[in-house]
């Protein structure tokens, strides 16, 4: 089984104040650390597990600047055989254009696959769209929110999709296909610095993204970045920790959940 799995490098923003610059032209990410997209980490792990069981190989693909090599080394350390970097000069905003470029890349380079994995969404822009558009462009069956793979056969898989409220649906899908992988599907293995160092010795192939731009026009345009509208917001409890905690307990008593 050959599995191509997409992996993206994203900024770590959870604890950061994000600043918009140039009157909405850009978001300043220059001081942020970067890491692998959480969802893609689960996708790489799932691909490696399948190949460990049934044989074949995993190819990790990242699209981005030279720095994205970092997530490829990581994927190789986890068990991917190859790492492909599709170099693009600037990030592509429109998920359609992004998927079209990936589709051209896969076709032009004859990348062999039985299954393509993406993550459910990118942590940064949360479009959740690349897998679905790519499937349509490659005319392949598609399923998103995959939270379990119960059976792997040479011509089909039986998978579970996650729906709302804890419900799942079991689906039979023919190969080749594209699946977007939901977080929590597995427990991704630990990757050590040593492992990554060793993975650096495996050659990663670099492709120039502009070779795959035929028909890749953007259909949506970011006008600008803005701060979200503010709601009324919380009443903030400030002061010394002691005082804050006393207030907290006071609120719990007032609400009648603690005596």
């Amino acid at each position: 089984m050959n599995i191509v799995t997409f992996t993206k490098r994203v900024p770590v923003t959870q604890e950061e104040e994000l600043r918009i610059t140039g009157d909405g032209a850009a978001v300043d990410l220059s001081k942020l650390p970067f890491k692998v997209n959480d969802w893609d980490n689960y996708a790489v792990e799932e691909a490696v597990r399948i190949v460990e069981k049934v044989g074949g190989s995993v190819t990790a693909v990242a699209m981005g600047d030279a720095e994205s090599d970092e997530v490829l080394r990581r994927a190789i350390a986890m068990g991917a055989k190859d790492g492909f970097l599709v170099r693009i000069a600037r990030a592509i905003q429109d998920p359609f254009a992004r998927a079209a470029l990936i589709s051209n890349f896969i076709k032009n380079e004859n990348v062999p696959f039985d299954v393509i994995f993406t993550g459910v969404q990118s942590e940064d822009d949360q479009f959740g769209s690349v897998g679905g558009i790519l499937a349509a462009l490659l005319k392949l069956p598609y399923s998103s929110m995959v939270i379990g793979i119960d059976k792997v056969e040479s011509d089909h898989m039986v998978i579970r999709r996650e729906l709302e409220g804890g419900l799942q649906e079991r689906v039979r899908i023919s190969l080749p296909c594209i699946l977007s992988i939901q977080s929590g599907i597995n427990e991704p293995r630990y990757v050590s610095i040593m492992g990554i160092r060793k993975a650096s010795k495996v050659e990663r192939k670099v492709f120039q993204g502009n070779a795959y731009e035929a028909g890749v026009g953007a259909m949506i345009d970011t006008v600008k970045w803005v701060y979200p509208p503010r709601k009324k917001g919380a009443m903030m409890l400030s002061g010394e920790l002691d005082e804050v905690c006393k207030n907290l307990v006071g609120i719990l008593k007032e609400k009648g959940v603690y005596q």
């Binding site: 923003t13 959870q14 104040e17 994000l18 909405g24 978001v27 429109d94 998920p95 359609f96 459910v120 822009d125 949360q126 959740g128 769209s129 897998g131 679905g132 558009i133 499937a135 349509a136 598609y142 399923s143 998103s144 929110m145 579970r160 999709r161 996650e162 709302e164 409220g165 804890g166 419900l167 799942q168 649906e169 079991r170 689906v171 899908i173 023919s174 296909c177 977080s183 929590g184 026009g217 953007a218 259909m219 949506i220 970011t222 006008v223 600008k224 970045w225 979200p228 917001g233 919380a234 903030m236 409890l237 920790l241 905690c245 006393k246 907290l248 609120i251 719990l252 609400k255 959940v257």
Partner: protein
Amino acid sequence: MSYALVVAEVRRGVFEERNLDSFGLSSLLGKEIVLVVPDGPYSFNERLADTIVKVKAGEEVFLNPLNLVDIIEQVMNGRGKPDCIVFTHSSSGMESAPYVAGTFGLPVVTDVSAINKDEGVFYKSYYSDKIFGEFKCTGQGPWVLTVRSGSFKDAAAEKADAAKVEYIEGVAASDKRVFLEYVEEEKTEIDITKAEFLLSVGRGVGNKDEIPTYEELAGMLKATLSGSRPVIDKMWLPKPRQVGTSGKTVKPKVYLAMGISGAFQHIAGMKDSDCIIAINKDAGAPIFQYAHFGVIADMHKVRDKLKDMLKS
């Protein structure tokens, strides 16, 4: 004809409430509304649509993106292209919208939570609601949109006349992706939806070893411990303890969130709590927008201090 094609989300016989947001957005855009829905005993306010197209197929066939493209093609046949095709931002809309966009070569914007009609722009969240992107569609429509639940439901407006009903007699169902069965979550002894007081921890808890210390705190407060998705994904707490769209919807008297950023999938599961208290070390965490009370602090320090106070 200028119309919005609203693709209904139905699951196990229920017309999901989230569909109201799709109606609301379409109404705000001033479009005539054509709703497409499986033909079945779904109960909803039919007055919200101008036309209802009922598809003679089960919901499992309908909610399959491979089949939905055929259904949409049939709706457009004779009627012409809509201005937009609107889905809920859910397990079904998030799956089908990109596939529909890819099939017909259409622009797609997902997780739309606001619009400015005069300027023809949509807003969607980036970085878990820390930034919004303002989008214009430059390509030819229709635009394919998924709508965040809760964003537009108040704008859903009843029409003066009863909806016209039409039928699609059959669907070319794909054999490449076939629904087999629904799988339900296992029942457990603790039901967080019944708790009056939830102490909920997020990724900010840091690592697995911290979990017992919060269990202890929950015990001292007589609260029930729950968590956000990453905590459940990492198996630090069992799945039935997950709050959010893909977990449980809870409405306790007090929801005390520690180290949770406030992604909409989480908020959707707890926003109707009587009292929400958020503790987070990031003053810009979106959860403070939804909380009644907030504390900017290291959750571990708050935990230690609370434990000290409660012991004495």
